[in-house]
Amino acid sequence: MNEELIISGRDNLMVDPHLHIWHWPIPLYLFLGGLAAGVLFFAALLYIMGKEDAYRTAVRRIPFIAPVALILGLAALFFDLRHKAYFWQLYLAIRLESPMSWGAWTLLVITTASVIWCALHIREFFPGWDWKYKWLIDLEAFFNKYKKVLAWVILIYAVITGIYTGILLSAFNARPLWNTSVLGPLFLASGLSAGAAAIVLGSKDKKERLLFTRIDLIILGAELFLIVHMFMGFLASTQVQIEAAELFLGGPYTMVFWIFVVVLGIIVPGILDLMELRGKHIPALIPGVLVLMGSFAFRFIFVFAGQVSRWLY
C-alpha cells in the first residue's frame, strides 16, 4: 500500500483537490481564436494566390467572423483575469520564453489586421458605404494599395494565432497531458478545419463549397492522424504521460472525447464530406455544424482534462 495525504488540510481555491484555475472562458477563447485564424488564413491565402474573384465569399465575406470572434475571445480572456486592473502590464513586456506574452502581442496584430481587412470589404454588405472623413478615405486608399502586404501579414499571423494556443498549453510540463509538441499542429489543424467549415456554411457558390469541402476533408484526416499520433506518443512515454492518456482511454474523459470530438467532430463530417464529393447531396449545415462543435468540444475537454493530469509524488 502506498498512500499520500496532505495532513495539514490544504484547500486552496482553484488549486485543490485538483487544479481548476482555467474555467470556460479559456477554451471558449481558444475556439474563437482558432476559428478566426482559420477563416483569415484561407481569405489571405486565396487573395495572395489571385483567386479573390473566384472565391468571393471566402475572401470578402467570411472574414467578418474574425474580428467578432477575436474581440469576443479577448473579452473572455479579460474576464478570466483575476487582477483585471493590471492587464496593461501584458503590453509593457515582451517575453519570448512565455507563449502567453508573445500570444498577447500576436492577438493585438491579428485583431487590428482583421478589422482593417473587413473595413476594406465593407461594401460587400453595405454597397453604398461612405467613410465620410477624408482621413478615413485616405486610410482606405493606403491599405488598398498595400493590400497584398496586409494579406501576407494576416496569413503569417493567422498561422501563429492558430499554433500558439497549442504551444501555450504544451509549454506546461507540469501538466503531462498538455506537454506534447503535437498540440501546436493539432490546435492549428482544428482551427483551420473550423475555418473551412465556416466557409462551407456561409458560401452559396457551388465551386467554392466543393473546394472547401475537399480542404476540410484533408484537414480532418490530418487531425485524426495527429490525435492517434499523440496517444501513441503518450503511451510510449513516462508513467505520468501514460496516466494522462488513460484519462481518455477508459478514464473519465473517454466518452466525451471519442464521441463528441472524434466520431461526431471528425469521422462523421469526414464521411459526409466524402459523400458530397462523390456527388451525393448532403445539406452543408450538417458537416459544417458538426466540425464546429467538434472543434469547440476538443478545446473544452483538453483544457479541463489537462488540469486534472499531474505529476504524482
Binding site: M1, K84, Y86, S98, F172, A174, R175
Partner: protein
C-alpha cells in the same frame, strides 16, 4: 548566494506548526496556505513506514512559473528566491498551471501568491517563520554557497532527496531521508 531549505523527514512529527506560523507571519488569507504537510504511508501492517514532509514552493533553479509569466511579475530575486510582484501580476493563472508542485494559489485580491522563504525576515538575519517555529527543529535554512550555513552542514552529513527532479525544475527544497 543560493538560499535553500532542508526538512528532516525523520524528525518531522506532522504537527503543522509550520503551516500556522506561515499563515500568521505572512497574513495568508483564511482558507489558504503557502506550506503544507504531506504524510506518505508505505507497506502492509505491521510493516508500515511513514514519511512526513513539510512542503512549500521549491524556489526552483529552473522555475517554470518564471518562464511562463507573460509580464515578468514572477521573477527570481536575491539568492534564487522566486517571488511575485503583485502590481505586475495580471492574475492569468499561467504560473499556477505551470507549477508541478501546486505551490501557488490565486490570492482573493487577484494576484498570485506563494511562499517567499520569508524574505523579509531573512533580510534581517532571521530564519523563515516555519523554520523558526518548528518544535522538533526539523528544518534547516541558509545559503548553499556558504559551507558553514545550517543547510550546507546538514546536507553534507545526511542523504537527501528533492521532489520530482525529473520535471527539470532543479528544486531547492531538500528532504533528509
Amino acid at each position: 548566494m543560493r538560499y535553500a531549505m532542508a526538512v528532516d523527514t525523520k524528525k518531522c512529527v506532522g504537527c503543522s506548526d509550520c503551516v500556522v506560523a506561515c499563515q500568521t507571519e505572512n497574513g495568508v488569507p483564511i482558507g489558504y496556505c503557502r506550506d503544507w504537510v504531506v504524510e506518505v504511508m508505505d507497506g502492509t501492517y505491521p510493516q508500515l513506514e511513514i514519511e512526513l514532509r513539510s512542503e512549500r514552493c521549491n524556489h526552483c533553479g529552473n522555475a517554470p512559473c518564471v518562464r511562463c509569466c507573460p509580464t515578468g511579475a514572477s521573477h527570481i530575486a536575491e539568492g534564487g528566491i522566486v517571488l511575485v510582484k503583485p502590481n505586475k501580476c495580471i492574475g492569468c493563472g499561467a504560473c499556477i498551471a505551470s507549477c508541478p508542485y501546486d505551490a501557488r494559489y490565486p490570492h482573493p485580491k487577484g494576484y498570485v501568491d506563494k511562499c517567499t522563504f520569508c524574505i523579509h525576515r531573512v533580510r534581517e538575519g532571521m530564519k523563515p517563520a516555519c523554520v523558526a517555529v518548528c518544535p522538533t527543529k526539523c528544518m534547516y535554512f541558509g545559503d548553499l554557497d556558504d559551507p558553514n550555513s545550517d543547510v550546507s552542514v546538514i546536507l553534507k552529513k545526511r542523504k537527501a532527496k528533492t521532489l520530482i527532479p525529473e520535471a527539470g525544475t532543479q528544486p531547492q527544497l531538500y528532504f533528509l531521508i
